[in-house]
Symmetry: C2
Subunit: 182 residues, 2 copies
Amino acid sequence: MHETTLTARTIYEGRVVRLEVLDVELADGRRSVREIVRHAPAVAVLPRLPNGDFLLVRQYRKAVEAVVVELCAGLREPGEAPEAAARRELLEETGRTATRLRHLGRVLASPGYTDEWIDLFLADCEEAARPADLDADEQLELLRLRPDELRQALRENTIRDGKTLAAWALAELRGWLDAGGL
Amino acid sequence: MHETTLTARTIYEGRVVRLEVLDVELADGRRSVREIVRHAPAVAVLPRLPNGDFLLVRQYRKAVEAVVVELCAGLREPGEAPEAAARRELLEETGRTATRLRHLGRVLASPGYTDEWIDLFLADCEEAARPADLDADEQLELLRLRPDELRQALRENTIRDGKTLAAWALAELRGWLDAGGL
């Protein structure tokens, strides 16, 4: 299974995405066009406080014109390792330092058209927070949920962010949701 | 929390994606640029056979230059309801008809830059299959996994597709993974 690139055109190169259109040859010789969104690798963190509560982030997402509740997340900077990016985003968005940071896994956001990878982490944090240090165009609020409230919001689909559900699945499958904060 | 659109430019309109660049005003009056990928709404289905085995799809994904194991999935056609699209994709890709189709939820693929919604379903299917009926540029193989094999592949992060993990999380949270196939 493979698709050979015949020609590639870069349509747009922006701050967050680069759009490419590829002419490809399929394994059986037929041809097709693939529209591909290149995106920097991302990290996303599920922070847990000493009493077991989780922190999530509420922010306005222009792409869907709605406030979305999701993991603390951001893009890796050039040369930055996933764990370092996770610690940086955690501190910037929640003011917290992780006492223990565990890698949950790496997921593809939507492999039909984007190369975006997201490294997911579970971060056990201290209760005490420093002031958040957001990017100039970021505006967000923290949401604190007990474990049963998080489960209910995911089950009832009021939290609708895919990476947040993926992180919960990986933490559940690894048995890390039952272990408490410390 | 809101961001007001000041100007919007369509950079590219393709078969699968439309790229827009928006100048926005944030709630505090500052300005920023949002690069947004418009994408048709999608559906994705986790098919389960009468003996409890799950079916997944292996296909080459040009965006990541790799074979990806994921749910049976596709785009909704104009005017097509999510459930109808799920039944159509299930039949096209796996040759199966659902005896019971349950909506797991609706998730955002990556709300930082795309408006893609994915409606997720759990489909209990008959064992017997008709031949697959793929789109001209689709090439895929079916992968049959026992429930413990699916859990292991997700836990070990060898299945890395975000929507597949999200569907598993929703099915687990709703208690639908234990109920057997019928």
